[in-house]
């Protein structure tokens, strides 16, 4: 029975529950350097494609794939080897927000590339990747803040 539990004690316990949840949520948080890395790797890949030289395309693709794998390995190896956040911790809305954000990056990147290509630009994919990268770097923290709020609300 809980008649003897003081409301202050209950509130402190709820705050502790919240702190522990935040601690786990922090493990799944994508650090800022990851966005910069992905944006930079995308530019390297795009520059390789723009060169139209097989060797540079190969180098760009290799750097992109290896770089991405290493970055993902660092993130998942660091946090998730200690504790695996629950899949439903952020709720379905978080998944939609992430998908929408990736869509937005592509929505900026691809049309920019195709428009510049049509206009005869020598570096359409590179400029498109830079534009997408800017969206990723500027918009990333906003999305991260929103996801944190969703986790706090328990939605």
């Amino acid at each position: 029975m809980n008649e003897h539990i003081h409301p202050d004690d209950a509130a402190r316990s709820l705050a502790e529950v919240r702190r522990r949840k935040e601690q786990i949520v922090a493990l799944s948080r994508i650090p800022g350097w990851f966005r910069w890395t992905v944006a930079l790797l995308a530019v390297v890949l795009a520059a390789g494609l723009d060169s139209r030289r097989p060797l540079l395309i190969g180098v760009g693709t290799t750097v992109f794939v290896l770089g991405l794998l290493i970055a993902l390995g660092v993130i998942f190896g660091r946090g998730w080897s200690r504790a695996t956040p629950r899949h439903d911790l952020l709720g379905p809305r978080a998944g939609l927000v992430i998908v929408a954000f990736v869509g937005l990056v592509l929505l900026v990147n691809l049309p920019t590339t195709f428009l510049l290509q049509a206009a005869g630009s020598p570096l359409p994919a590179t400029v498109g990747a830079v534009a997408g990268g800017v969206v990723m770097i500027v918009g990333g923290p906003i999305v991260a803040r929103y996801l944190r709020r969703l986790a706090d609300d328990g939605r």
Binding site: D8, R82, P85
Partner: protein, 107 residues
Amino acid sequence: MIPPKFDELIHAPTRLSIVALLAAAEDAEFRFIRDSVGLSDSALSKQLTTLEEAGYVEIRKSFVGKRPRTSARLTTVGRAAFDQHVSALQQIVAQAGRTVRPDGATQ
């Protein structure tokens, strides 16, 4: 709506921290729990054993390469008990007409 049910076993401060940590995770490594909650190996083992005997926690021992890895996870029973306990705490706070601030203080 989760039915409130106060759980004396979970409410003990150390166990509440452990269970709250596990409730947010699929599973957690023994060392991670120990360091997070600030317990010695033996103290954490004792608490986990208590929770395991109550059917709230499942302890797994495995190997990552050659390194032994001990992890813990909440069972379905443990998760339900935790949810009901949190619901009971919320009810106590609500009945007192208070709200909880992030720092744990009430207003």
